[in-house]
């Protein structure tokens, strides 16, 4: 069995990579797939905090790579879903303690065991980025509708293409439909025309995200949350299901966009 290795990256920090990883990972696990989340942000780990698993960490990614423990020992099982686990990053080490080749080997090893491996990439385009990308077949680029985030996303897409990673998808996070309507925020169509990669989903801006992060419970567990529903749809599309794009902005462009993307 060969699982799918997905890296979630953005270039810019603070756009919601870790939240995306936590929610997509949880949602795929809810669909009964075996999922392993890998926190590649060595030195600044926080996927464990978002998942609410901080106090269970014994071994981390660098321990696995340096052979201090078996891979299975570093895996932390989720509190609710037994088929979901994560390997935390090392907090006390530096990014340079891991090499891209080692990550490739680890990803190949994990792909034998899991259906999905989701890698949380650090911000930036240095060593940590190269490590996180090394073992992946698919990339999800997360951006917010801000010019700075889009500029960085563009750069990252260029770097991913240069490293021969062709399966690239886009998630637009924290879109405020009201501001788009007023013309104060870039719309989905604007962003897509610039970045020109297939859209996986749009996550509306929401306070629920902050609350769920602080509680350590991913949003997709929560019923009736709009952002949670967006992540549910994203996970489904990632899984190859056809989910129509919801037309939340009130005009018909998403319908056109959908035809463009799924054609």
């Amino acid at each position: 069995m060969a699982g799918k290795t997905i890296v979630v990256t953005s270039g810019k920090g603070g756009v919601g990579k870790t939240t995306t990883v936590a929610n997509i990972g949880t949602m795929l696990a809810k669909k009964k797939y075996s999922v392993c989340m890998l926190d590649a942000d060595i030195g600044l780990r926080n996927l464990d905090v978002v998942m609410g698993l901080e106090n269970r960490i014994v071994y981390n990614l660098v321990d696995v790579i340096e052979g201090h423990c078996r891979t299975a020992q570093a895996m932390i099982r989720d509190r609710k879903l037994s088929n979901l686990c994560m390997i935390p990053a090392a907090q006390t080490r530096e990014k340079n303690s891991v090499q891209p080749e080692q990550m490739k080997t680890l990803c190949a090893e994990l792909a034998e065991e899991f259906d999905y491996i989701i890698i949380d990439c650090p911000a930036g385009i240095e060593q940590g980025f190269k490590n996180a990308v090394a073992g992946a077949q698919t990339a999800i680029v997360v951006t917010t509708p801000e010019v700075s985030a889009i500029r960085d996303a563009d750069r990252v897409i260029g770097l991913l293409e240069a490293s021969l990673l062709r399966d690239i998808h886009l998630i637009i996070n924290r879109l405020n439909h009201r501001m788009v309507k007023k013309g104060d925020m870039m719309s989905t169509a604007d962003i897509l025309s610039l970045l020109a990669v297939p859209l996986l989903g749009v996550v509306p801006e929401s306070e629920e995200v902050v609350i769920s992060t602080n509680r350590g419970v991913p949003l997709v567990h929560q019923r009736g949350s709009r952002a949670g529903r967006a992540f549910t749809q994203i996970a489904a599309r990632l899984n190859g299901e056809e989910v129509p794009f919801e037309d939340e902005s009130g005009n018909g462009f998403l319908g056109k966009m959908k035809r463009f993307i799924w054609s």
Binding site: R151, D154, R155, I157, G158, L194
Partner: protein, 223 residues
């Protein structure tokens, strides 16, 4: 483009002039240092200088014959650059290439553009962080996104939206033009002129747009 370092003179300057490139070695830097730097610049610029012709200005710093030969070999091997003339003093120029005819009294604002060099074709969108240098014309089959730079000795043609930086006529050719399906750049340069886009939204063009120099100003025409 010659990089200027304010604190320390460069071991050798590459100046773009009307007649092509001129190499100006620094008066005090040791020759080995000059050679090392020159090699580095050639590596760095890939084939930007490919098949171009350069002259060597020794009015500030005399070099020995074997040193000139060494430099000439380096240029030829690394980048296929021909060293065509050596200028000893303002009034003493010796031509190394007997066949070369100096472009006589070139009309103002033009440089010999080698039309025989095939244009560089970029078959993808230039994303942020990409830098493309072409020794001739440059054709981009895709967009030029903000944060990307396209620099060409000749014209730049973009089959897409130009949103990044474009520099046509990089060696001083004022007749160079920039063509794009839509020009909304962060900055455009032609020869030694720089233009910034006007503030505010502009109407979307019907077919394509051309930027060119008119009356010593960069104008963007919509067709």
């Amino acid at each position: 483009m010659p990089l200027r370092n304010a604190d320390r003179p460069l071991p050798i300057q590459i100046k773009a002039t009307r007649d092509g490139f001129t190499l100006v070695p620094d008066a005090t830097t040791p020759f080995q240092e000059i050679m090392r730097y020159m090699k580095h610049r050639l590596d760095e610029s890939h084939d930007f200088f490919y098949h171009s012709e350069m002259s060597l200005d020794l009015s500030a710093r005399p070099l020995q014959t074997d040193q000139i030969l060494e430099l000439r070999c380096l240029l030829a091997e690394k980048a296929g650059v021909k060293l065509v003339e050596v200028k000893m003093r303002e009034d003493l120029v010796c031509t190394l290439e007997p066949a070369r005819t100096r472009p006589k009294a070139a009309p103002q604002c033009s440089s010999p553009r080698n039309r025989e060099v095939t244009p560089m074709i970029v078959r993808s969108t230039c994303r942020s962080g990409t830098r493309i240098e072409s020794p001739a014309d440059c054709v981009v089959l895709g967009d030029v996104n903000p944060g990307a730079e396209v620099i060409a000795v000749g014209d730049i043609i973009v089959f897409g939206s130009l949103r990044g930086v474009a520099h046509a006529g990089a060696t001083g050719d004022c007749s160079a033009r920039i063509w794009a399906l839509s020009i909304e750049p962060s900055q455009i340069r032609i020869a030694d002129l720089v233009a910034l886009p006007p503030a505010g939204n502009k109407p979307t063009p019907k077919r394509f747009e051309i930027a060119e120099i008119q009356n010593n100003m960069i104008q963007v025409l919509t067709l």
